[in-house]
Amino acid sequence: MARSVIPIGPYHPLQEEPEFFTLTVDGETVVDIEVNLGYNHRGIEKLSERKTFDQSTFVIERICGICSTSHPFAYTRAVEDVIPVEVPERAKYIRTIIAEGERIHSHLLWLGLAGHFLGYNTVYMWVWKLREEILDVMEILSGNRNNYAMFKPGGVRRDIKEEDIPVVMRKIDSIIPTIDRLKKAILDDPVLHVRLKGIGVLTKEEAINYCAVGPTSRASGVARDVRKDAPYGAYDRVEWDMIVTEHGDVFDKAVVRILETYESIKIVKTCLQNLPGGDIDLNIKDIPPGEGIGAHEAPRGEVFHYVRSDGTNRPARHKVRAPSYMNIPTCQATVIGETISDATIILAAVDPCYCCTERMAVRDSKGARLYDTKELIRLSQQKTERIKRKMGIK
């Protein structure tokens, strides 16, 4: 069967952000994959060098919509690492509550989209209907559905009012029965078992070699979680357990994410119950020259920020590494050999967040100049002819 090249992207109903996978396909099985991004590159590192330490929290927050509090969390921890200073207790609890609330709505978002990718639109609608409840909770706590702007180097920008806590607790308790029903509906659905089990397997060695992070690596048995290994915020004051499974296929990645949602609900509730008093901000005045590293366990994996300050009130260098930067290359190991219909769900299983990883690289050797969908298609047709001729000659 002649090989044909299937461009998925850059504009494709599968993803909301433009990323461009060129799958070289032999019949229905994927033979080669080429990742080509850069459609989201906004030069955020250069921008944050123009802004002061406080302003750049707002730029950092707009790196990614779904993990819009993970980046500021890691960034503020990096700035606090430069000075070495400790954040007050109440600020730690508020930070943990916001981070875990975001993890719940991010995992639910992925679950809905996974249902959508499988053509299972009923799950997509139910899960996103449930997600609206969490967005209401975040709106009560921080004033906006996402882009919460709660974080500040040295503490938190706004406090959680006492009268909001019972309302939030009632809303969170109201979603638990629905999540249980969804968990049963999804995890025991025989068709989903057939469709998700055993495909896109990432073995433990590959996860370590590719330095994968977050649920992608935890689904392959790599027990690494920044909240457990390097406890920060209120994570060591709340007992919760890390979810690790062994098979590493798409089904396990779904299981890890669903069970993590339960853990996050547990963390948010305990943090809300014993929220300590005290002030919420250190009012940092000046930042001495030096370097700082901050990491946070975002819904997709470990976010890493490196800040270097030269004594002025603007960062001299600000390096951002998003979790998907390490997880997307694993598609080399998981997609090749699968069929096209599985390739899309495997690419989505890593829960890629392309706007975080705007510094992605082309993995394949050919650097052909790529045009638009129509030209890409003509280009891929030419490529197919080349491949056919090459196959013919060989």
């Binding site: 690494r224 890493f304 490196y306 590494r321 290359p329 100049r369």
Partner: protein, 157 residues
């Protein structure tokens, strides 16, 4: 495998490669090494200590070009950052992409945004910037200035 064993092991094994070891806090260690010792030290940390390659961050200070390779050891909650200083005009260093697959992408990015040559990289090509971006213009350098005359920078308000 406590923190002291790791540091002692590093010092004995690479005594002449290490320029200085700055033990900043129990969670952070900055180790400056000579550029051509990088593959050996990186291999030792990644393979034998079982650390995870976190990221490499290139910085263009006025005087020299500097790269920091961050490795994190989860078990003992330690981040080791290897610092390498290169000259500013023609920065070049051996690539560790063949040893650590995760490093392949960050090296391509530093090649494109900072102009650092990585010798032995499997396929060092441009990635994020568009094709009409002129060669030799590196946005993350301190002396970068706008080359696109048609860019609109005021809000027109």
């Amino acid at each position: 495998m406590t923190r002291e064993d790791v540091l002692k092991g590093l010092q004995e094994r690479f005594r002449d490669d290490i320029i200085d070891l700055y033990d900043r806090s129990h969670k952070r260690v900055y180790m400056e090494i000579i550029p051509d010792a990088l593959p050996r030290v990186a291999m030792y940390i990644f393979r034998d200590l079982g650390a995870r390659f976190n990221i490499a961050s290139g910085t263009d200070t006025r005087t020299h070009m500097e790269i920091l390779y961050h490795f994190s050891l989860e078990e003992i909650n330690l981040i080791i950052s290897l610092r390498v200083k290169l000259d500013r005009e023609k920065p070049a260093i051996a690539s560790i992409a063949k040893l650590i697959i995760g490093a392949n992408w960050i090296e391509r990015e530093m090649y494109e945004l900072l102009g650092i040559q990585f010798i032995g990289h499997p396929d060092l090509r441009r990635l994020l910037l568009a094709d009409e971006w002129p060669r030799g213009v590196y946005p993350l350098r301190t002396d970068y200035e706008e080359w696109d005359k048609s860019a609109v920078r005021d809000r027109g308000v």
